[in-house]
Symmetry: C2
Subunit: 324 residues, 2 copies
């Protein structure tokens, strides 16, 4: 029997982390540890991880380097799914990982593919990737498109109600742009394939399950539910205006949090519905490897399967509202 | 007989361009055009290209877009080896290339591999690559390491004199860092292999011929010439100080050309002799494909062969001092 691959997950209590961390623990041949802040050890989120059999260790990313190196020594792969406000704390983590001899670092990306210069969130993540490269730490960057759970349309009966959010109730653009979708629960499985594959070392990988326009997604829900979905739109002109407005505010007041949120939100709308960067063809031009080409036999939960499950009330274990 | 691949070269009269453009013209199955400014059509450099059988057409990169689209229509591959001061003029070129249906754009890189954030020149080129990606133009970025002609040591007899330059007379660092080297004349052949290969589409490729430390290069020259080479050094502390000094000046006076030159020069010294980023192993971590893995049978002129040719006086056709 070979030694299990040792994986450490940062941000294991978030949605992406919860898809990844418990998955690895049930996957034979891998041993997973979740890293948490000293002050968060007693939180219920970490208890949930422990209940799912994940070992939880404490160390602060901005704390003493020796402690981090100590925790990382013996770890083969680090997967970071950290909260976006802590993204830059990955830089000391990467430096410690290099020192500890970690073989592969998966920085927190897990978003929609983008070129540099179109989404501030992407640019931050690209700056962090550059910092990882500058210390010569081998890496793999994984993007997963848009969560299928975030395109569940509202229907009059309310059967899809718990997936509704004021942020995603409107369709960005005119609804005709294709969008690559992944169900939250499949991220763990996809990541597990990617991180042990020598072909993906020092590469960006785009993993996704299906590609649909918003109109197709709505048509699908109407067919499966027999109800009429609500379709309203955020036109391209509004998206552009909101981005410009947020940029303008931030240029004068870089710490303005409301403007930063507005920028992030509308740059996502732009990416999804107007530029249409969240598609396999565009991702190739941005330099990504395509998950479906790497693993043609791996299947995830399709949008159709997810919708059917929700309509049947079989979605009790959904990670999407685990912490709600 | 199949239609030849139509290649357009920008910056064909520079050293990299001269390695690339005439090569393609003698390579069966490819038809090459060189793009020059209207005002440069009559220059002797363009006459030399014509003498080598290259078709020369005129259009200004900052001129009317329709004219550029017109020139680019029917072109399969654009290779840019433009002068560094004109790097950002590649953005309108790329936009026109997208409109004209160009299948692959090779932006001007042809330097040493680097991560983002370690060389301003690299960062500029990375910003241009992002602009190419934002208009969804398929691309390949090619780096070729350091020119072998730039590491020819000085010897008392003066037989290597014409390769001496005040810029490269000192060894960066302590001479123990490996450096990937390519003879200028091989760039055309290497580029020709890369640009017709589907494996390199939307990828960075690192092409090089051999890897030596500066000490090995000097030892080699001593063995081949029977003379003692001059070895002097720019220590790491001096490189760091000069970079800091240039950054400081530029932060107050961004248009200070002398400071910019100093920054570029010492960041190259840092890349080559101190960080050691110009090696195949480091390039992999920066995400590059390795030319030798892609084309194990393609051979270039080794440093040893180049030095022997120079010592024998058989280097009359060297591109390195073509325009001197």
């Amino acid at each position: 029997m070979s030694t299990p691959i040792k994986v450490l997950v940062v941000g294991a209590t978030g949605r992406t982390g919860m898809s990844v961390a418990p998955f690895f623990n049930t996957d034979k041949g891998k041993a997973v540890t979740a890293l948490t802040r000293e002050s968060s050890l007693g939180k219920p989120e970490n208890q949930k991880l422990k209940d799912r059999g994940v070992q939880v260790v404490a160390a602060d990313l901005l704390g003493p380097k020796e402690r981090l190196v100590d925790v990382l020594t013996g770890i083969d792969i680090v997967i970071s799914a950290t909260f976006w406000r802590n993204l830059f704390d990955q830089i000391p983590l990467a430096e410690a990982a290099k020192e500890a001899g970690v073989k592969r670092f998966v920085p927190c990306s897990f978003m929609t593919p983008s070129p540099r210069g179109a989404m501030r969130m992407y640019d931050w993540k690209d700056d962090i990737l550059a910092a990882i490269q500058r210390v010569y730490l081998p890496w793999t960057s994984i993007d997963v498109g848009w969560w299928s759970e975030q395109v569940v349309p509202s229907i009059p009966s309310g059967r899809t109600q718990k997936y509704q959010s004021p942020y995603f109730e409107k369709i960005p653009g005119d609804g005709t742009m294709p969008v690559a979708l992944t169900a939250l629960a499949d991220i763990g499985n996809y990541v597990a394939k990617i991180i042990v594959d020598p072909r993906t070392l020092n590469k960006k990988v785009f993993a996704y399950t299906d590609v649909h326009t918003y109109h197709e997604v709505h048509d699908l829900m109407e067919r499966l539910s027999g109800e009429k979905t609500a379709r309203s739109y955020v036109p391209a002109s509004e998206v552009k205006q909101k981005i410009d407005e947020a940029e303008e505010t931030l240029s004068k007041d870089p710490k303005n949090d409301a403007a930063l949120m507005q920028l992030f939100f509308f740059q996502y709308q732009n990416n999804l519905g107007i530029r249409g960067d969240n598609t396999p063809a565009k991702a190739k031009i941005f330099g990504y490897l395509d998950f479906k080409e790497l693993y043609p036999d791996v299947k995830g939960e399709t949008v159709s399967e997810l919708f059917q499950k929700i309509l049947n009330g079989q979605d009790k274990d959904s990670l999407y509202y685990l912490w709600k």
